[in-house]
């Protein structure tokens, strides 16, 4: 087992990445649990989590810290948020998810993890949760929608601290199935730049995810 320098709270166990389980003894999505030196670790499956895939593919900017405040859009049933929750043990992860079905699992998960705050709401209408949120260090967006970049930027403008980091997982097929992913990624990057953001890094998620790109960005000013 090895602590990964660049990735706070992420470990290398038998060539798998892993996080220390905040809720000992419980699996979240069927991942493997491994005990090392009296501590329990959860294997982070890059095929199930795009953030995991980005780490495997050599992500440079990994902004998550023990006390990070994170707004997570499209939290789904909590696979990736659970690993972030393992990392940001003293932070808060607001998890926005619109599907009641996903949210049911997410609420269950949140009960056991005090740093996870579930929100059944619509990420395309960020003002909806204006009265419940704080400004965050990291805005993470994984919403399979045609207007995913637009809602990402709107949320950043409302909730991201000036020095904060935004991470978006772009799924080209949700934007336009008829266009080539490359062209779509180029266009979405342009949108972010025009919208006042600086793209720090782009990570292709192959072979874990097809036609997906992770983009890391911050305010350009």
């Amino acid at each position: 087992m090895e602590k990964l320098e660049k990735f706070t709270g992420v470990y290398n166990i038998e060539d798998h990445i892993a996080t220390e389980n905040l809720n000992t003894g419980k699996k979240v999505y069927g991942e493997r649990l491994i005990e090392v030196d009296d501590k329990e670790y959860r294997i982070w499956e890059p095929r199930r989590s795009k953030l995991g895939a980005a780490i495997m593919n050599g992500m440079e900017t990994f902004p998550f810290k023990t006390d990070s405040k994170i707004l997570y859009l499209g939290a789904s049933s909590g696979t990736t948020p659970s690993h972030i929750s393992d990392i940001a043990t003293n932070g808060t992860i607001w998890c926005v998810e619109f599907s009641p079905r996903m949210m049911r699992s997410l609420v269950e998960l949140s009960r056991d993890r005090v740093n996870m705050v579930p929100l059944l709401d619509d990420a395309t209408k960020p003002r909806n949760y204006l009265h419940l949120l704080e400004k965050v260090d990291i805005l993470y967006s994984d919403v399979a929608q045609s207007k995913q970049s637009e809602l990402f930027m709107e949320n950043m403008r409302l909730y991201l601290k000036p020095e904060g980091i935004g991470i978006i997982m772009i799924k080209s097929r949700s934007i336009d199935v008829t266009q080539s992913p490359k062209k779509i990624f180029r266009e979405e990057e342009k949108k972010l730049k025009t919208g006042g953001f600086k793209v720090l890094e782009k990570i292709n998620l192959e072979p874990y995810e097809k036609d997906h790109l992770a983009m890391v960005c911050k305010f350009a000013f």
Partner: protein
Amino acid sequence: MKCYLTCSFAGFISLDENCTLLDYELFPRDKLKERFAKITAGIVTREEELILKRLVKKCDTIVIETNTPHSRYKNLKESIKFKYETPNMAGEFLRSNMEDLLKKTDFLKSDDDLTKIIHDLSIEITNDRLRKASESEDMFLIQAINSIDELDETTGKMVERLREWYSIHFPELDKIKNHERFVEIVADLGDRDSIIDSGVLDPDKDSVRTDKSIGAPISEIDLLILKEFASSIKSLQVTKRSITEYIDERMGEIAPNLKDLTGASLGAKLIAHVGSLERLSKMASGTVQVLGAEKALFRHLKTGERPPKHGLIFQHPEVRGAKWWIRGKVARTLALKISLAVRTDVYSGEYDPSIRESFEKRIEEIKKSNPFPKKST
């Protein structure tokens, strides 16, 4: 003086232009969830009225950050002083310094854990919303399954009309008994000669006489309108298929175990019949067994006629296909398993294939141990 008003789950906070705390009006600690529901619904709460009443005395302009329709502030005193700006300076400051500010307002005592408060509140709020959402999920499903009945009735009537209408020209085609096929042939091909030339008619299977029709010739304009009528029936049939697929998908999400046991359509009909999945989960299996046979049940209670053995669940192939002497048993077994499946759907939501499997096993046993009707005694 100009001041800024913002709102959080804790209550209303007003800052001046230097972001100094000017005033606040907190929600009662035991009413956080209720108050949050109100501000989400766009209702001006008592607390907001109170703080605004105080602020208009001190300030010339009050810049309010809010999701509430502005019209709802119109009736408040001196509302002419209100400006609206969302987000505003106070909100931005609050969201950047939440813990500090809430401490200053005495909302947070020294030993309070803000993260825990937000965490618990959010779970409560989310659970409320989930409850509402699952009601509306049920309602969408119920509307969909009901629309299928209407589409069937509608399409049926229109196909009858189309058959009568089209028979003026090519009465022999009426031999095609399958409605969908009949409609499609007329919509796509149109007149008799085109149909015959296209080769869609199978001389063996269709038994449509094509050599000499006793029908009348048809003009272009008569044919066009007939084809349009047929096409609109076809589009209804397509819509019906889409809705059927939708029900299938939704049932898989809302009630995977019920769907597995009864199929999407019958499951959705049961939910529609009682109004919600939850209500269905609270019913005794004896009631589930006769859902949809209320009239017969009523007759039984009133006149002592035989009680009904099954209602809607007669549509299940195992019930419908059962020999008469075991049909009651099969229906009872199915109703029991339906209750189990629905409860699993409501309380755990997890798909459990063993429910259907145990039903099938039980049916096999019933069949095996009752190969012949019992002699009546």
